[in-house]
Amino acid sequence: MLCIETKDLRKKYASTVAVDGVDLQIESGQVFGFLGPNGAGKSTVIKLLTTLISPSNGKISVLGIDSAKHPLEIRKKIGVVLQQPSYEPTLSAEKSLEKYGMMWNIDKKIRKKRTEELLSAFGLEEIRKKKMDDLSIGQRRRVQVAREFMHDMDLLFLDEPTVGLDPAARRKLLDFLREQVKNSGLTIFYTTHVLSEAEYLCDNIAIINNGKIMAVDSPSELKNRFGHEKTIKIHISTVSEELKSKLSTIPECQIKLEPEPTVIINSTKSEIVLMNILKILNETDTKINDLSAIPTNLEEIFLKVVGDSN
């Protein structure tokens, strides 16, 4: 079943086109990653999908509901953690969860139970009585994300939820989200700038740039499609003029002197290029200190897709 469907979605602010003809079809029960550089249109798309703003053109269907006709019906079934912090400064972390559950009309007994579960799951027990105003950015962010699980939902929008979290808290959150998708069939629409997070968590990924979708696929398929170029680094002892001159005949490689002399190969045929370079190093009596092959990761794919589109 399609959880989100958009057709020719556009949003224009004065002369700026923030979203430019976005077509999305997102199946239920998955984590869908939405990646893009700053100002690419990620948050605008989230605001459109969560009915916070109206599109200039195009159609949006969320959970099978037309967003133009029944925005409130959509909002009753979704959870939203926006990019910017949102909190009640005068309430404690515990009270924040409890009151948020009340706002969603959750029964008092269930609220109490969920509050305890979430305080534990998000490692908030020690700060449960602390006022939100007195918490660190990361602690507030954890409460903000935890709060959204006080109510039932079919679809959760998370706009950079791990901003300000330490690595342990970040991993804990990602595992919690995976568990939720697995156990309750929740669909998560997830944006982040930490691409390793997206690789770890997401079943499918869309890359957006300048308001347009550049690629949509699973992380492994994206790697297959865009990851033909491999990077190999050869750390060497010295760089002679003779070596420089010989390497200049191979366009797929470059030499970096800082922090240590390194030959970097970027090529779709990196193994063949490597053989040629090893031969040159041998001819010039250059000692190899270390050699490493960097596997294709999502970050490289992202940079390539965004770079090409720019």
Binding site: K47, T50, T51, L52, I53, L72, R75, K76, I78, V80, L82, Q84, P85, S86, Y87, E88, P89, T90, L91, K95, K99, M102, M103, W104, N105, D107
Partner: protein, 256 residues
């Protein structure tokens, strides 16, 4: 599961985040100081104040004025809620949840109404020993006090809401709201009688909605419902309606 109206849920939330021990103490302590210190200290200067067909002693006049003043002061909360919600991201968060802007606006109005009534009841109880000699409660006057409290709360709540929507910086918000409310407080009939005031000042008094609110509440407490008070009621309702519409329009247009 019992389905509670979204407006009631938001009112519950508004009251939880706004009312704290400091607020309640301030709501009681400040009028107490005014009534029992300023009220009796000024008795030497102001012997009695004519109101309707009665002559009130100054503490009774001041205590009844403090009810209107306190209603105005407590509606500051409306502005503070909106301003805090925008500053701390809760406005957007609420609007992305199971609520509409209408729910949000109405919940603010109900919150102000509750706080206004609570405030009026509190000062009536606190000031009662001071004005009980002149009190003339009857079947008309008590609804009049409630009417004045609610309409006054909506009026000043709307003013606070308009200021909070228009200003983003905390400094700007505090300066403007304190200036407006301080002007309303001291250029009104809450603290001094209009009789004997220089004409320009008397005119300013009656350009100020707090004077109308205070007069209506006094009329309710002392049973002096005159034609002038009825006119004041109409003006207050008209003004409250206009300001409420402006505040609602501004809140509806508030962009994310």
């Amino acid at each position: 599961m019992i389905r509670i109206n979204p407006i009631i849920r938001l009112v519950n939330r508004n009251l939880t985040i706004s009312i704290n021990p400091g607020f309640i103490i301030w709501q009681i302590l400040f009028p107490l100081i005014y009534i029992f210190v300023a009220g009796f200290a000024y008795t030497a200067l102001i012997d009695s104040v004519p109101f309707g067909g009665k002559n009130l002693d100054y503490p009774a006049f001041l205590a009844s004025g403090m009810i209107g003043f306190n209603i105005m002061n407590s509606t500051l909360i409306s502005g503070i809620i909106i301003w805090n919600d925008r500053r701390h991201g809760m406005f957007e968060q609420i609007m992305s949840g199971p609520f509409t802007r209408t729910h949000y606006i109405l919940s603010n109005i109900v919150t102000i109404g509750i706080i206004g009534l609570f405030s009026a009841a509190l000062i009536t109880a606190v000031g009662y020993p001071v004005f009980f000699d002149s009190v003339e409660f009857n079947i008309v006057t008590i609804p009049l006090i409630i009417f004045g409290s609610v309409v006054g709360a909506i009026l000043f709540g709307s003013i606070a809401s308009i200021i909070s929507v228009k200003l983003r910086s905390s400094e700007g918000f505090n300066v403007i709201i304190n200036t407006v409310f301080l002007f309303c407080a001291f250029a009104s009939t809450a603290f001094y009688p209009v009789q004997g005031a220089p004409q320009p000042l008397a005119t300013i008094f009656y350009l100020n909605p707090l004077s109308y609110l205070v007069d209506i509440i006094r009329a309710g407490i002392f049973g002096q419902v005159t034609d002038f008070v009825i006119t004041e009621m109409l003006v207050l309702v008209g003004l409250a309606a206009i300001l409420f519409v402006i505040a609602t329009k501004l809140l509806t247009k508030l962009d994310f």
